[in-house]
Amino acid sequence: MEEFEIPKQPGSNYLNAEYGLKSWLLTKDHKRIALLYLGAISFFFFIGSLYAMAIRLELLTPQGDLMQSSTYNKTFTQHGIIMVFFFLIPSIPATLGNFLIPMMIGAKDLAFPRINLLSWYIYMIGGVITIYALLAGGVDTGWTFYVPYSTTFSNSYVIATGLGIFINGFSSILTGLNFIVTIHTMRAPGMTWFRMPLFVWAHYATSLIMILGTPVVAITILLVALERLAHIGIFDPAAGGDPVLFQHLFWFYSHPAVYIMVLPAMGVVSELIANFSRKNIFGYKFVAFSSLAIAVLGFLVWGHHLFVASQSVYAGMIFSFLSFTVAIPSAIKVFNWTATLYKGSISYDTPMLYGLGFIGLFTIGGLTGMFLASLATDVHLSDTYFVVAHFHYIMVGGTLLAYLGGLHYWWPKISGRMYPEGWGRFSALIVFVGFNLTFSPQFLLGYMGMPRRYHTYPAELVSWQVLHVLSTAGASILGVGLMIPLVYLAWSLRYGRIAEANPWHLPGLEWQTASPPPTENFLTTPIVTHEAYEFAPPEHKEVVGKFERQQPAET
């Protein structure tokens, strides 16, 4: 069998196997569930973006002219809650991960298809409750819910929102559980651990964090609700509690959660870089293990969010040191991706452009973490726009770009259609430029002293306003850049060129079946005989001109 032969089209694929709303709402197919998630998170992303635009518009001028302070506070709170809990955390795992993990390891589905569907319903219930809270009057505590503001002083829908997030958390836990069991037990014959694509490794590490960390935030939210309703006193010093305890609990989850958001993105980027330069990843094991190292070390650094929060100086020092060590595995990944390009065959397709953009922006995002992990500079930078810029570089510049790159990369597999390449490249460029213009001024703003979560700022500081205007201009460009794919991806569903089974000519298992795949993914269970990203067996010389590689053994 020739490697890149298109497999026989099966009669039906997962999209047309069944019709009707019911066939979607009761589906157990991981691919359909991934699409359910895709629809839902796109909706939440859209809402979150509207809030973002409102924030950027308000900050054009030093005064509050678009809305009142209380509205502004709700706006940034709801932006953060929706983006973090309802977009970033589920984004890559629940859509691309759900769709691809079984396919990449040669399985028919996840280990627990019903639980997978359940996790989507849980997500939706959490989402609906949260949307209800927003419509009923909103919430104004910041996505961090710091006490005692959230327990005693806020007059907004804290409990309803908290309930939404609490419920939503279980969908992450179930997804994580499902991935772990699937990866352990459902690998096709020959798919050893070290033959798995790095996307799968990254999701394995992410799943560990999901199941170990999420319960902590669930309990923390529960405690906030109990404190608010029944005043149990756990966070109230007058009753013997401690408000800083909340921050410890919250960040014990939420620091690892930032890795829930970025590890899957790293997995996507490993795929993009390797596949679009037709090279096996440089230092595969280092990249794989660095994901696990991040997952483990990520649980030990939460205190870097409390350097100015009355934590002791010595605790600060320990957390600072550990924060620097957790940065090393991320650096290793960046260097390995770069080295993978060396002597590759690099294409400039849209997914690769996103992958390359990720490397640059994630590097900046990670390095600016150094300013925050270093104690003395963090004292000045904590709770300023520098922090805002730092995490947007990672979560937008990193996760969102990787998500878009992955979506384009697997779009032919998911939809059976090609997206328009020219538009893809064009919008990737717009997104990159818009993103940088939005967030790079915020580093400067932060060091100049602009605190975050500020509705107004001193009018006499003209340089602040200049930077805010730049940032808003960038956000407008970014907004346009994000609208374009929305339009052409939707367009391509109907008018796009029909995709082949393996349009990029890649060795990954997900490409060795039809596009879109049949419900059971593979007509016969694949038997894996080669490493991940094996474009040519090692003994082969550089080959130019035709495909040299043969399927090694008969299957």
């Binding site: 109230d236 408000p243 009355s310 690099i346 900046i364 979560r453 474009f535 080959v543 130019v544």
Partner: protein, 336 residues
């Protein structure tokens, strides 16, 4: 008013050091960002796909390189750590012989009280070239005193005192901000630190004299709240221990451990007396939780501090350089 660099005015003894570290990290950041970008761009151009069918030769990886690019970043990160930690230590070390100012944050204003009695709202007058120590708490939610020109920031937290200090190097008016989100008018919770030449400052002090000093106000509260019934009319002791000289001393507790009596300890002794019992005394002191405002509490603390003849910094061996010299109020259940 501002230099050409995008940094705020540098007006404290430590602000220059923080800037130096900041620029150092920028240097490394820019170096690595450029390194990665240039190498990536070079590879992307040099190894672009020239033929749709080409397959490059695989490269496995290299342990040498992996070691190199783990160890070098780690070493650089350690320099960030050491430098940052050293400076942080200086930032939070309790200031010796500082002018003390009591700060109470509440939604959405800042109240300052000088040891000499002057009270201010959203404005703080201080002399140039003197250490100023802020002893801070809040009446409601968490706030944060952030003075960009001094590169200092510290949360104010209910239930304890936090401190920060600075020594201004240039007269002028500097913005300060609340840097911990605190509700509706958070962005309005800002004001100015006015740094004055010493003579000017003396004039300002005397121009605003005549307000009761915190210690005097505390003395009155000591009577009106009935502390005298146990601690004596002049705090010389009675059913309760003498409070003369307590501040800054080592207090032996009934479990034979000992604590240094700082502001946080005194605060706890008043709000939650049973948490730490002085040796030889029973748990008879009632809690004053809820009967005394944060500002009044600071006045009483100031009064008790004024009863110490020795300066605390000299009396104690070496107070832990903690952001919270207090242990905060972290008692077990309060017996009623």
């Amino acid at each position: 008013m501002q230099s050409w660099l995008p940094v705020p005015e540098s007006a404290s003894t430590l602000s220059g050091d923080v800037d130096a570290l900041y620029f150092y990290i920028w240097g490394v950041t820019i170096f690595f960002t450029l390194l990665i970008s240039v190498v990536v761009i070079f590879f992307v151009i040099r190894y672009r796909r020239r033929n749709p069918f080409e397959i490059p030769r695989p490269i496995e990886g290299s342990h040498k390189l992996e070691t190199l690019w783990s160890v070098i970043p780690l070493l650089i990160a350690i320099t960030f750590f050491v430098w940052g930690a050293k400076l942080y230590f200086a930032q939070y070390k309790p200031a010796q012989n500082a002018i003390e100012v009591y700060v109470v944050g509440k939604q959405w204003m800042w109240k300052f009280q000088h040891a000499t009695g002057q009270r201010e709202i959203n404005e703080l007058h201080v002399p140039v070239g003197r250490k100023v120590k802020l002893i801070m708490t809040t009446e409601d939610v968490i706030h944060d005193v952030f003075v960009p020109a001094f590169r200092i920031k510290a949360d104010v937290v209910a239930g304890k005192y936090t401190t920060e200090w600075f020594e201004a190097t240039k007269p002028g008016t500097y913005n300060f901000f609340c840097a911990e989100y605190c509700g509706m008018n958070h962005s309005g919770m800002r004001g100015y630190v006015v740094v004055m030449e010493p003579t000017e400052y003396e004039n300002w002090l005397s121009g605003n004299a005549g307000q009761t000093s915190p210690a005097a106000a505390g003395r009155n509260l000591f009577e009106s709240l009935g502390c005298i019934s146990c601690h004596g009319a002049n705090a010389e002791g009675g059913r309760g221990p003498a409070l003369l000289g307590v501040y800054g001393s080592k207090v032996v507790l009934n479990n034979n451990s000992s604590v240094t009596a700082d502001e946080g300890y005194i605060r706890e002794s008043i709000l939650n007396p049973q948490a730490k019992l002085v040796t030889g005394f029973g748990p008879i002191m009632p809690s004053f939780q809820g009967q005394i405002s944060e500002e009044q509490l600071l006045d009483v603390v100031a009064y008790i501090k004024s009863l110490s003849t020795t300066k605390p910094e000299q009396a104690t061996a070496k107070p832990a350089p903690s952001a919270t010299p207090s242990t905060g109020a972290k008692p077990s259940a309060t017996p009623k």
